[in-house]
């Protein structure tokens, strides 16, 4: 948001009746909760105490057991259509969704009840976005992201593993200011964070353009901070705003730290962006050790061999003569 909106934003955030926030956790690693707890733009205390009325979050709330359940029921009943819900983690659908249950209810049932009655659903992290790690092949629990498991919701996806709390806070502030979600892309991710290719914002891009590449971990190029393209960096295929907002209070981000991008904010990234240390996916049916280049070379090699063999056979067999006219045969 442009700077000139600062006054309006502050005013709106100040005036807003604090909406209730419910944070649900399903098949997750709590990494998204962890990262928002460590956020300082804004600090989690600000978010909990000033911005929102953050009432339900299994990891950080004081209450437990029956008290927690009653609280959730009360929010869904009293704040119907007004509260915000954040979902962290995938929702299993195999075998009736029994792979993730809280208080005797499946994740699917809880999501149906809590998300359907909310003003908007914010799916944080790759798992809530599209199933993430839990859904990676072979996906034994039939895990899905929120928008697929509970279709028809007003949902915004904060993809990434984990979500970047700066972006999530921005969405919350945007919601408080305009009472609406920001502009979204085709995967319902906010364009402001997911609209640009990493590669186009990368600080190592000059090395890429010049052809200075790391070819081995710890080699000279790696020590000099050259481009990680040959180490399987997925920056050219991935969109996110890591290079700009970075992580852990703007400390660093994966590529600055010397590791290629793995495209963690991209759809189904565990399956689509792997192998993480190769430029291209493995060709199905050839195993992971064989690269696409080797298969191509083999194809060309086989063709050359075949053609050479064919050529040799034609050389050995005398070239067929065109039919000779009968009179000419007599003459000969």
């Amino acid at each position: 948001m442009p700077e000139r909106y600062l006054a309006q934003t502050v005013a709106a955030v100040g005036k807003a009746r604090k909406p209730v926030l419910v944070w649900l956790q399903f098949q997750d690693c709590t990494g998204c909760s962890e990262s928002i707890l460590r956020s300082s733009h804004p600090d989690v205390a600000d978010v909990v105490l000033d911005l929102l009325s953050w009432e339900y979050h299994e990891v950080i709330m004081a209450g437990a057991g029956g008290y927690a359940n009653a609280l959730l029921d009360r929010i869904v009943k009293n704040e119907k259509g007004k509260y915000l819900v954040v979902v962290e983690g995938a929702i299993p659908t195999a075998e009736g969704g029994i792979h993730c249950m809280i208080n005797g209810h499946t994740a699917l049932e809880i999501a149906e009840r809590v998300c359907r009655n909310a003003a908007a659903t914010i799916a944080v992290g790759a798992c809530a976005f599209d199933g993430g790690l839990v859904r990676a092949k072979p996906n034994p629990t039939g895990a899905l992201g929120v928008q697929e498991a509970v279709p028809g919701l007003k949902v915004i996806n904060m993809a990434g593993c984990p979500h970047n709390p700066v972006n999530t806070a921005a969405v919350l502030v945007h919601y408080l200011t305009f009472n609406d979600l920001p502009a979204l892309d085709q995967y319902n991710r906010p364009l402001f964070a997911y609209g640009r290719i990493i590669h186009d914002q990368c600080e190592r891009r000059a090395h890429y353009d010049a052809g200075r590449f790391v070819t081995e971990w710890g080699d000279e190029g790696h020590r000099k901070g050259w481009c990680l393209y040959k180490m399987g960096c997925k920056g050219p295929a991935a969109t996110f705003n890591c290079p700009v907002v970075q992580w852990n209070d703007h400390t660093s981000w994966p590529i600055r730290a010397g590791h290629g991008c793995i495209g963690c904010a991209s759809p189904r990234f565990w399956d689509t962006m792997s192998p993480f240390y190769d430029r291209l996916p493995s060709v199905p049916g050839f195993g992971v050790e064989v690269t696409a280049g080797e298969i191509g070379m083999a194809l060309v090699g086989a063709t050359v061999a075949g053609v050479t063999a064919h050529g040799l056979i034609t050389m050995i067999k005398p070239a067929p003569k065109p039919p000779v006219e009968p009179e000419e045969r007599k003459e000969a």
Partner: protein, 245 residues
């Protein structure tokens, strides 16, 4: 035929009857052909470099990868233009480059393919000689045009992701939602080898047929003319009239 000292006894004179020089390959087709040869060569080289930059760490050219990509994208556009021109020739060109020759809708074309394969498999000693392409060749060119199209589409998707083109976005912007970008990259890369393999086949078979036919097949792609027996031309004329009515 009187023998003369100029003939090699191991390669006797081969009378071929009355012939004409027939203009078969119009110059747009030859332009397409050689443009394809050039652009596939350039695109393969630059594309391979982009896939696996084998020149690493030089300091002389601060925009080396940038240049490779620029050349690749430029020739990609030339490749696209050539392809569109070829599509136009399907409808605007002469009889031998028209779409009817390429799409095997008639049983006779399939039979011809069998005969061509018999020649390649050393079962028939005589190749199937045609004024234009034989059915097998034509069909394989149709296949290679499909590969060209796939290469163009995947290339445009990748180009659009970087350039956010207002023209391309509505045309190809939806594709990465169906097939993942990384898989599109893989397809774009693997198809390059199909071109190279095709090139090897193509040159070999052209040399083979040219050698057996002795009708100037190899020449024709440079000058457009082929040496065609008079009676074959007349027959083709009759066929063309029959097809038109």
């Amino acid at each position: 035929m009187p023998s003369s000292s100029l003939t090699d006894p191991r390669h006797p004179l081969q009378p071929i009857g009355p012939t004409v020089g027939l203009y078969v390959w119009q110059y747009p087709l030859r332009l397409f052909h050689w443009g394809m040869v050039l652009s596939i060569a350039v695109l393969s080289f630059t594309g391979y470099y982009i896939h696996d930059p084998f020149i690493v760490g030089q300091v002389k050219y601060p925009f080396l990868m940038g240049w490779f990509r620029f050349v690749h994208e430029t020739f990609g556009m030339i490749f696209l233009a050539l392809f569109l021109m070829r599509i136009a020739l399907f409808f605007q060109g002469n009889r031998w480059v028209g779409w009817r020759q390429y799409v095997p809708l008639h049983v006779s074309q399939w039979k011809e393919m069998v005969n061509v394969m018999k020649f390649y498999g050393f079962i028939n000693p005589k190749p199937v000689s045609k004024i234009g392409h034989n059915a097998m060749a034509a069909f394989s060119y149709l296949g290679i045009y499909a590969v060209v199209l796939a290469e163009i589409v995947t290339g445009l998707v990748l180009y659009n992701r970087l350039r956010h083109s207002a023209v391309l976005a509505p045309l190809v912007g939806w594709i990465p939602g169906v097939v993942n970008v990384q898989n599109l990259r893989l397809i774009h890369f693997l198809l390059m080898f199909v071109f190279i393999a095709f090139g090897v086949f193509h040159v070999h078979l052209c040399m083979l047929i040219s050698r057996v036919e002795k009708r100037g097949l190899m020449d024709s792609i440079f000058i457009g003319y082929k040496v065609i027996p008079q009676d074959e031309l007349e027959e083709e004329q009759k066929k063309a009239i029959a097809e038109r009515s």
